[in-house]
């Protein structure tokens, strides 16, 4: 664990508000499961995730074998010069995986990060989109 992570985490955390990721990671530091909404519109699936403190360049979205994996890292450097006196939440990276059906047009997945909210737009493949059938 990084020195910084330890410093933020060492004070008793009375009310855990984030769910820690229990799997193994190759990077040191705590990992949390970001809170996520998944909604569906006629054209696409939209995945919205809360990843406060994450910068655009530290988000990694991967799609492999129909598994969509999001890995978002936070920057611990602002905490270096700070000494925790009262803490209510822990700070860590974010990770989450979803399996995606092949009804998704994987080529056209779009990601956007604003105000600590990551939005992934997964367009449906044309054959999976709703069609209105005209009666002739």
């Amino acid at each position: 664990m990084d020195k910084e992570t330890k410093e933020v985490a060492k004070v008793e955390n009375r009310k855990p508000v984030k769910t820690q990721f229990e799997g193994e990671k190759t990077v040191s530091g705590k990992y949390y499961i970001p809170r996520t909404d998944i909604i569906e519109t006629g054209k696409s699936l939209i995945v919205t995730m809360d990843v406060p403190g994450v910068k655009k360049e530290n988000v990694n979205v991967m799609l492999e074998n129909n598994i969509l994996e999001v890995d978002a890292k936070i920057d611990f450097s602002p905490y270096k010069s700070l000494n925790p006196v009262y803490t209510e939440y822990n700070v860590g990276h974010y990770t989450r995986k979803f399996s995606v059906s092949n009804a998704i047009d994987t080529e056209k997945i779009d990601a956007n990060l604003a105000d600590g909210v990551l939005t992934l737009t997964l367009p449906k493949a044309p054959e999976a989109q709703p069609r209105k059938i005209q009666i002739s």
């Binding site: 009375r14 009310k15 909604i39 809360d50 406060p52 006196v85 803490t87 939440y89």
Partner: protein
């Protein structure tokens, strides 16, 4: 008859149970319990720095007030996906929050700096000069 000691023990037990329940230890959901929004407070060169995670909150919907040693943090987080959508999973929620914190010393309210970036609110709270201990020279 209950002695004062017994009552105190019972009240202590009650308090411990409440604490355990509020800690979310028995919960498996990702939903939060307890204060909203949770804050971390740090010390830096004798001043305080408050950090809160407020993803998706608009700057104009955030309100910070400081008076003497009281800090009030209020705002609204609105999540609206519009009509004609179906929901598969909802873990994030719209919320209205209003928290008041008592700090250990008075704050120089004119010098408070608040920054909101990447969903993080960082408020620097400088120790008021008038509230700092004075060194007294011995005559």
């Amino acid at each position: 008859m209950l002695s004062f000691r017994t009552l105190e023990t019972l009240l202590g037990l009650q308090e411990a149970l409440d604490l355990a329940r509020n800690a979310g230890f028995f919960e498996t959901s990702t939903a939060s319990s307890g204060v909203n929004p949770p804050v971390n407070i740090f010390e830096k060169n004798g001043d305080l720095v408050l950090v809160a995670e407020l993803p998706g909150v608009k700057k104009k919907e955030l309100n910070i007030e400081v008076k003497e040693n009281i800090l009030r943090l209020s705002g609204t987080r609105t999540i609206d996906y519009g009509k004609d959508v179906s929901y598969h999973r909802i873990e994030r929620n719209s919320s209205k929050f209003d928290r008041t914190l008592r700090l250990p010393f008075n704050i120089e309210s004119g010098k408070v700096l608040a920054e909101y970036k990447d969903g993080l609110l960082v408020v620097s709270l400088p120790h008021a000069e008038s509230d700092k201990p004075k060194k007294i020279a011995i005559q």
